[in-house]
């Protein structure tokens, strides 16, 4: 598993930031989310693209 890392990308226009949590899952991930709540209002939550690719493959198999 990847070394636990948190990546905060601040938008150049100052409008907000993204947080990417790598190598961490479950309750620890939620705990890390809380550490960012004082800096901004969470407006969306999304999974990384590869997650969606896996989901698509499952759907294709199911359709056969």
């Amino acid at each position: 598993m990847a070394k636990p890392t948190v990546v905060m990308t601040i938008h150049g226009d100052g409008s907000g930031f993204d947080v990417d949590v790598i190598g961490v899952n479950g309750p620890t991930c939620q705990r890390i989310q809380k550490d960012f709540e004082g800096m901004g209002k969470r407006v969306s939550e999304r999974k990384k693209p590869e997650y969606h690719q896996v989901q698509t493959a499952v759907q294709n198999l199911a359709g056969r």
């Binding site: 636990p4 948190v6 601040i10 150049g12 949590v21 790598i22 309750p27 800096m39 901004g40 969470r42």
Partner: protein, 155 residues
């Protein structure tokens, strides 16, 4: 698996706001009345109806500037108070964007350090549509990952 979240900027830390304005080369004055804020003054020296809690004195801006202020709202967040004139001479949307981005950087490092994060790295990423994004990478506190390895968490 990784997780992505998007956040909207909230400026609610006065120390970080003052520090970021200083980083951008601006001298700030804190209002004497930290509840209601002090009145701002116009270019001719007359008091204006607007009030603010963090003030950039007009004399430090330009000869014809009005005071620029940051007013703390009821929810604790700061709102910029900038005259139309000053927004046209370099203190408009682009400048406010720099203030917010600099604030986020200060606030992020301050809060994460307080939570025990380490190994901070900073890099700028070119952005075709405007000022560069800033990427801060950090390692979560050991307690977080130790809890994960043994399969439990303390909430």
């Amino acid at each position: 698996m990784s997780k992505f979240d998007d956040y909207q900027t909230l400026m609610n830390d006065q120390d970080c706001l003052v520090e970021s304005l200083g980083t951008l080369g601006r001298k700030t004055v804190l209002a004497k009345d930290q509840v209601g804020g002090d009145q701002l003054f116009g270019y001719e020296g007359a008091a204006r109806p607007e009030r603010a809690h963090v003030i950039l004195p007009r004399k430090t801006l330009s000869g014809a500037s009005n005071d620029i202020g940051f007013r703390r709202e009821a929810d604790g967040n700061f709102t910029a108070v900038v005259s139309q004139y000053d927004s046209q001479i370099g203190y408009g949307k682009e400048w406010l964007a720099k203030v917010k981005a600099t604030y986020l950087e200060k606030k992020g490092i301050k809060d994460l350090t307080a939570q025990g994060y380490t190994d901070f790295r900073r890099e700028e990423i070119k952005n075709a549509s405007g000022p560069p994004d800033v990427r801060i990478t950090a390692t979560p506190p050991p307690a977080y990952t130790q809890a994960q390895q043994v399969g439990f968490s303390r909430s």
